[in-house]
Amino acid sequence: MQTLEIAGREFTSRLFMGTGKFSSNEIMKRAIEASGTQMVTVAMKRIELDDEQDDMLGHIMSPDICLLPNTSGVRDAEEAVFAAQMSREAFGTNWLKLEIHPDPRYLLPDSTETLKATEQLVKLGFNVLPYCQADPTLCKRLEEAGAAAVMPLGAPIGSNKGLRTRDFLQIIIEQSGVPVVVDAGIGAPSHAAEAMEMGASACLVNTAIAVAGDPVAMAVAFKQAVEAGRMAYEAGLGAVSDGMVAEASSPLTAFLLD
């Protein structure tokens, strides 16, 4: 399999993992290890002064893993830039999953604010990976703004519905000059394999692993699905049908004499 390069860093695993919704840090840690992932998202929260401090990061940190802090919770570009600066200070990394969703119900990304924030954050030296609508034009705009990759959604976040935006993802993959990471909506390993077969650079999976009956086993399933899909893409998929249109009685090319 070809290695994936984003912002100068190489990844041999094309499965990115989110850390939300696990029943315990311990299970999360084991799932991360089992998945072989090298890119893990984290969020930020205000410290509760009276609570005992858990060591969530300690369960993730490893030299093989690139931490991808997100800006979850921000509602516009201004808040995103502030969150990004906090994240760089807290985690000591320029990597950033930019997500701006003012809508608390479906958590759908705000395209206008996302583009605006990307432009500003790139200037501030961040490796910006924006979570965005599966909008091919927007993705080109984000690329021009300097995004290190684009992360279009497959379906509403957490819905596990698979690649509902398939036709648009296909166009994004075809046009993009930066890696395309399919984010949100991937509910089963078959969905991840499908995205990879289409030529996606990577998949980001969270809910489908975290809420599985056995998250560790599901992490392995996703690892294998992403690898299988990528290998199939690189190997060149065979004919789906034989692509032949029925012969008509009067051939179209009869005029060609030589």
Partner: protein, 65 residues
């Protein structure tokens, strides 16, 4: 002198941001601090003199996708 940390009233014993972090037994790493919505890099904490009524936010890592 009182400030608000993550929305909670705190009576400050020292004078600088570093003093406050120590007082609250917060970790030095894996956190970021903002005062009145402006991020203060940790290199400036020891010089940052606190004033009455400042709004201080301290964040750290959390689980998320």
């Amino acid at each position: 002198m009182n400030v608000k940390v993550n929305g909670k009233e705190v009576s400050v014993q020292g004078t600088t941001l570093t003093d406050l972090i120590v007082q609250l037994a917060l970790p030095q790493n894996g956190v970021a601090v903002a005062v009145d919505n402006k991020m203060i890099p940790r290199t400036q904490w020891s010089d940052y003199i606190l004033r009455e009524g400042l709004q201080i936010v301290v964040i750290k890592a959390a689980c998320g996708g």
